[in-house]
Amino acid sequence: MKKEKIIYSPDHLKFLKKRKKDACVIYFFQISIFLTFILFWEILAKLNWIDAFLVSSPSRIFSTIIELSNKGQLWDNIGFTVFETILGFLFGTILGIIIATIIWYSPLVSKVSEPYLVVFNALPKVALGPIIIVWMGTNIKSIITMALLVSTIVSIINILSGFKDVNREEILLMRSFGASKTQILTKLVLPANISTIVSTLKINVGMSLIGVITGEFLVSTKGIGYLIVYGGQIFKLDLVMAGIFILGIIASIMYIGVAKLEHACDR
């Protein structure tokens, strides 16, 4: 379809202007809340109204990050955490799709596995930490395993419920054409669930990050999670706060990336 040139009426223009203005107001408040918070934090710390040793301050966080960067530790640690997280959420989602597919295939497997899924989902995965360390050793394998544990189970449950939500009459239609279960999967269930899978990816960015940071808390000598734990141990709260700040940025960037992907799929 071709795009036609639209001529706006004055009322339409007014409407568009108002919309734009509303959007600006929202941005203004969002940004000024953030800046005010930073500013007050800084001022209160400078005036010694709050103890900067305990709560740090924006300028101290900033100089900590610069210091890390100068020592060449910043990008290393970020890269390490990001790498683990991406591995975690990609493989978590892929594993989720595969296991959900297996469960979908067989009503028997579906019913048998149900209580196990429920228990495994409810179980705090961090409790498995010691076992993972013993089995995998104090290395990246443990961290990835932790990330996978956290993200896979959520993926399975999410994707499986999407698979099961496929309209029964659409399946009837497929079957009336003589479709096999595999054909129903590839031609109906999977394409109908593209958006479920992408939204699972979105959830998994967060899930995988939880797993990775937990893993780094437990075993690592690298990564943002390690910086945070280390900072806590030596009572250097500037480092802890800097770590949290960097994590926030990493999480947002990854989330936005996947959201963009989702948008492209929705098109």
Partner: protein, 257 residues
């Protein structure tokens, strides 16, 4: 219909459904013959097993007792001579109209040049040519239902199973589309079994109307629909005095205790 070939024979069919608490007898000793190129409509109270009968003919479910014969042969798996048209069109939003129409061919793995050509010819013949590249959400309900019919016809079925295919359409579209569908089915020499709640629709589309009884259902009455001329339009049939007679008969059958 000069030579009447029996294409479907339902022979003493019984069907039971089971729930943990009870057994439901849906069809009880049902006998029904359908002839080649015939348009048969099944009407009956809700839950009487009309749609179930279609599923039986398609081979998607097997009867508890009795036998189904298609062209004289006993049916024991999916019946590849039949194809469905359902209440909603179930065109997939991620496929264009053309791709949707090819779905059945793909599934049956007969996406040959000749079959594709046939489907495209149907699309063009019945006014969907300009929508080939469109997605289902871009075209009207009537057009979608027509596309669904062509998807059904593309696999060259002998028997079309129509499960209330018009009931989701608005009244006006419903009349024009049902008439068009009837015409397409005639032109392509198909046999059709329609399930409907709409008595008027049953009368102006069918050669025979089959009235099912309450559950457990059997055939309560078979009514042959014959207007004096063969080529009346829906509106002409509606105004025909026989229309009211047929309507009364079916109405009374449905309300019999």
């Amino acid at each position: 219909m000069n030579i009447k070939n029996k294409i479907v024979e339902l022979n003493r069919i019984s069907l039971k459904y089971h729930t943990p608490k009870k057994e439901i007898l849906v069809l009880d000793n049902l006998n029904l013959d359908i002839y080649e190129r015939e348009f048969v409509t099944i009407v009956g109270p809700s839950g009487c097993g009309k749609s179930t009968t279609l599923s039986l003919i398609s081979g998607l479910i097997t009867p508890s007792l009795g036998k189904i014969f298609i062209n004289g042969k006993s049916l024991n798996s999916i019946n590849s001579k039949t194809a469905y048209m359902l209440q909603r069109d179930y065109l997939f939003n991620w496929r264009t109209i053309e791709e949707n129409v090819m779905l059945g061919l793909e599934i049956r793995k007969i996406l040959l040049k000749s079959n594709k050509k046939y489907a495209l010819r149907l699309l063009k013949k019945y006014g969907l040519k300009k929508f080939l590249e469109c997605y289902p959400y871009q075209i009207s309900g009537g057009m979608r239902q027509k596309a669904a019919l062509i998807r059904t016809l593309a696999v060259k079925p002998e028997i079309l199973l129509l499960d209330e295919p018009f009931s989701a359409l608005d009244y006006q579209t419903r009349i024009t589309i049902s008439e068009e569908v009837k015409q397409i089915i005639n032109e392509e020499n198909k046999t059709a079994v329609l399930v409907s709640h709409d008595i008027s629709e049953a009368i102006f589309l069918s050669d025979r109307v089959v009235v099912f009884s309450n559950r457990p259902s059997k055939v309560q009455r078979i009514l042959k629909i014959e207007f004096d001329e063969n080529t009346l339009t829906v509106r002409e049939k509606r105004n025909h005095k026989k229309f009211n007679e047929y309507f009364e008969i079916i109405w009374n059958e449905l309300n019999k205790k």
